[in-house]
């Protein structure tokens, strides 16, 4: 039983927050936006998954992708292990903790007992850092929670071995080798290029800017998909939750990406990135307007076709602006 000294900090997003906390703990000073940018985390997808009642929007890349991209671009080596046997998974976690190694684990957020029940949902790609264990349970740093928390062994086991989409399969991650020198410029440029390519060049109709367009076109159909007005209200308000509240740093990660571009501009000593950073921040402000309009429509049960048309037009404007932004970024990094 041991508790490693670990600095708990809140962050905007669980995966980038957990990874940046681990890297900083290991001695590599990196901000959450820089990690998110280098990892090419910004994204958009409009998805209709059979396991969901309603279409969902995703504003970030696939869970786990940040770590892989970071590893490639920064030269940090991570150990990432999945398990079939929950007992073995828990034993290995405890062994690492005994050695004083904080470890990021992928969990189902539903079993994070310290979070108020009404905020917990089944979401299998929630990352927390486990940094100790004592008689009370595992000491957990969850960047969505203001303080470090304690989670009982049974809940952590359930959370690590939940089934369903993105099932964690006991995944644990920790950095083992840090690079002797990091080529930050190359990493930043490569991260921007990757993200911009995903946004404007992916030839799939539901991904990137095409995905935003699809979202704009399909939002008219939402009233037909809903059970009743409460359901439609809930789904509309979820637009706000997905873009603003569920670990995005605001505006579906656009504010965090603007922060990254500002940091990149200083690092690369290039004013063009600073200008794009400002435009990305303004773009985020307009996404936030969309979230607020959707939330108000939901709360007021204001489902007039005119409202959906307005919302659709606002989303289409974002598609156009993001096409311009990411195309410019792609050209800048060539």
């Amino acid at each position: 039983m041991s508790i490693a000294p670990f600095k708990h900090t809140m962050a905007a997003h669980c995966e980038s927050g957990a990874l940046s906390a681990l890297l900083n703990h290991k001695g590599l000073s990196i901000s959450e936006p820089m990690l998110f940018g280098i990892g090419a985390g910004i994204f958009f997808a409009y998805l209709k998954i059979p396991s969901m009642h309603f279409p969902v929007i995703a504003a970030r890349s696939m869970p786990g992708s940040l770590r892989k991209q970071l590893s490639k671009r920064l030269g940090v080596k991570f150990v990432a292990r999945r398990y079939r046997d929950p007992v073995k998974a828990q034993t290995e976690l405890e062994t690492l903790l005994d050695c004083g190694i904080p470890v990021a684990v992928q969990t189902d957020m539903f079993y994070m007992d310290y979070i108020p029940a009404h905020l917990r949902t089944h979401f299998n790609a929630h990352f927390v850092v486990v940094f100790g264990k004592d008689s009370d349970g595992f000491h957990v740093s969850d960047c969505y929670y203001p303080e470090a928390a304690v989670l009982c062994e049974a809940s952590l086991a359930k959370a690590r071995f939940a089934k369903g989409d993105f099932s964690p399969q006991g995944l644990l991650v920790y950095p083992v080798t840090m690079p002797s020198a990091v080529n930050w410029e190359s990493a930043v440029l490569s991260g921007i290029r990757h993200a911009a390519f995903s946004m404007v060049r992916t030839p799939l109709p539901f991904i990137g800017v095409a995905g935003i367009r699809l979202f704009s076109k399909k939002i008219h159909t939402w009233p037909r998909l809903a059970r009743d007005s409460d359901h439609l209200s809930h789904e509309l308000m979820k637009i706000n939750l997905l873009l603003e509240e569920q670990g995005t740093g605001g505006a579906g990660f656009r504010f965090m990406y603007a922060t990254f571009l500002q940091e990149a501009s200083k690092l690369l000593n290039n004013q063009a990135y600073a200008d794009l950073s400002k435009r990305m921040m303004t773009n985020g402000d307009r996404w936030r307007d969309i979230s607020l309009v959707a939330a108000r429509m939901g709360k007021n049960r204001d489902f007039a076709p005119r409202r959906f048309a307005d919302l659709s037009a606002m989303i289409m404007e974002r598609a156009d602006e993001e096409r311009r932004l990411f195309t410019e970024l792609l050209h800048l990094t060539k």
């Binding site: 359930k158 504010f255 921040m281």
Partner: protein, 156 residues
């Protein structure tokens, strides 16, 4: 977003936003949740309606406890099936009142784990009018048995 626009005074639900600070630099701001502060009443109102409707269907026998908790947690048969480890067809069958008696206790336990409740809660609910007390379930070493403890809402 300007820092001043991002500040929301709501301690129970804190989060981090990236904002433009007074000096023009962008950075993190720990703040309260706008949605929780301004829209939580609507959430609870909808939740109460879902609970009342689901309870009515449960007590009349049209909905099974599986269907009841699926409604409360807004889960689809496909998601539940994947998490419990059975087919979607079976979940659809178990969701209605007539399909529930066919389930083994072992499967009830798997459903209960997915819903985050005890096996006992699949068969027994606090009466809706009973607001003077709350019933807390304390786990035992036996995964099928819990102790029920009756508490006053104001007790620690």
């Amino acid at each position: 977003m300007k820092e001043t626009d991002g500040i929301v005074d709501y301690k129970p639900h804190q989060m981090v936003l990236y904002v433009e600070k007074a000096d023009g630099a962008y950075g993190p701001l720990q703040t309260g949740s706008y949605m929780s502060k301004h829209y939580i009443d609507d959430f609870w109102e909808k939740r109460r309606r879902i609970e009342t409707d689901a309870l009515q269907q449960l007590t009349s026998g049209t909905l099974s406890p599986v269907g009841y908790y699926m409604l409360l947690l807004d889960m689809t048969p496909a998601d539940v099936a994947h998490r419990v480890g059975i087919s979607v067809r079976k979940v659809i069958k178990h969701r209605i009142g007539a399909g529930f008696p066919l389930i083994s206790v072992k499967l009830v336990k798997r459903y209960a784990d997915v819903f985050g409740i005890s096996v006992a809660s699949m068969f027994c609910l606090p009466a809706p009018e009973c607001t003077a007390f709350r019933i807390i379930q304390r786990e035992t070493d036996n995964p099928f048995v819990v102790f029920s403890v009756i508490e006053r809402p104001d007790s620690p």
